[in-house]
Each structure stands twice: as C-alpha cells, then as structure tokens.
C-alpha cells in the first residue's frame, strides 16, 4: 500500500517568510509524529497527533512553529518568520497505534532558509 508522503520534497525560502509543509500519513494510522533532522542535532521530535488532537507539542522549538491535523489524516507544519537555523529536513511518521515500535516515515521535506 501507499506509504507516508510529504510535500514539497524541497523548499527554498527567504529569511522571514512563512512556509507550510504537508504530510499524508498511511491510511488508517491514527498517530502522527513530526521530527526534524539537522546535521548537528540528528533526528528530534517536534509534535505528536492522536487523531486531530496534539496532546504533545513539547518538541516545538519556538512559537513560530505550529501544526494542525484535519480529518484524522493530513497534517500541516507551519513555520512563521523562518530563520536560517530552521534549515533542516522535516520528517513525518505515522503509526497504526500510538506505541513507539511501528512508526513509518515519509521521505521528508528539505527546507533551506536563505
């Protein structure tokens, strides 16, 4: 079946602009996670959705970052007023159950802030 998809695959933006990153999870997966992968920090958790609710936002680095999920499916991660340090690969993962062992990742969105 179809895996997790993300769009765009690459995004180049100017400092100060807003960007939206999209994630389409595997159909039927109720749990959705966003992570960020950067050269210095590795892969880091950002936010967790169960259905349309986001009960764990503890990894969001600042209030410029927000995310939503609609219809228990598609999720959008928004970064406002982008900074150069936001440059990274943003990865989305989904899971049939909330348990940690079965998270399947999408290909990621490579964000470059100039």
């Amino acid at each position: 079946g179809a895996g997790v998809s993300q769009s765009p695959s690459n995004k180049v933006t100017e400092k100060g602009k807003d960007v939206e990153l999209r994630c389409d999870p595997i159909s039927g997966h109720t749990a959705l996670y966003w992570y960020r992968q950067s050269l210095g920090q590795g892969l880091e958790f950002l936010i967790y959705f169960q259905g349309n609710s986001a009960p764990d936002k503890s990894g969001l680095p600042s209030d410029r970052f927000s995310a939503e999920r609609t219809g228990g499916s598609v999720s959008t991660l928004t970064i406002q007023r982008t900074q150069q340090e936001d440059s990274a690969v943003y990865l989305c993962a989904s899971s049939l159950a909330p348990r940690g062992e079965t998270q399947y990742f999408g290909p990621g969105t490579r964000l470059l802030v100039l």
């Binding site: 996670y33 892969l43 764990d56 503890s58 909330p98 348990r99 940690g100 062992e101 998270q103």
Partner: protein, 115 residues
C-alpha cells in the same frame, strides 16, 4: 550526557563481513528499541524493533537489547553493498502523559560495504 549515544563512524567493511552497530542509552525507562536504515536523501526505514530485553532475528539482521547494560546492538551478516546507508537506533516508551511514544534517536552510523 546525551540520552542516546551512537558512534557516527564512518564504518567501512568488505562485502560479506559481519557488521556490528551499537548504541548506549541513559534512560532506563525506555521500553521499545528500534533500528532504522536511512539511504541518502531518503526517510528512515524501519528495520527491526524489540520490546524490552532479548534478541530478534530477521534474515541477515539480528537485534540485541541488554537493558541491564543499557546497550543495544544490530548485527548484519553477509553484508552487501546495498546495505551501505546510515543506521539509526531509536528508543521510546513509556508513553508520556499525553500518550506519545516519541522516538529518541542516536545520531546514526554511516556504513559503507565495499564490493
């Protein structure tokens, strides 16, 4: 001290060799232990997962977890050039009060298998 430590390598081995990849961790509460493989410019691909201590085998891959030592390993037998990738260990659990099983990753070991 980072929660999960993983030697970044790079690790270069000849085709057919046995590869050993390892991670150590500090959080004794971790319950689930995973290994992901990531090819260049791709997302991580789940290879294996283990709950609590023990061994698990899948084809050429064997995962081991020693909770008493806070040490996990992935062994690759008869390594192939197609195994060349970055290998990430990841851990999770118990869930947060919010029900999240967020993964905590090592920084990955870059493996090259030379024909």
């Amino acid at each position: 001290q980072k929660e999960v430590e993983q030697d970044p390598g790079p690790l270069s081995v000849p085709e057919g060799a046995i590869v050993s990849l390892n991670c150590t961790y500090s959080n004794s509460a971790f319950q689930y232990f995973m290994w992901y493989r990531q090819y260049s410019r791709k997302g991580p691909e789940l290879l294996m997962y283990t709950y609590s201590s023990g061994n698990k085998e899948d084809g050429r891959f064997t995962a081991q977890v020693d909770k008493s030592s806070k040490y996990i390993s992935l062994f690759i037998r008869d390594s192939q050039p197609s195994d060349s990738a970055t290998y990430l260990c990841a851990m999770s659990g118990p869930s947060s009060g919010a029900g999240s099983y967020q993964l905590t990753f090592g920084k990955g070991t870059k493996l090259s298998v030379i024909p």
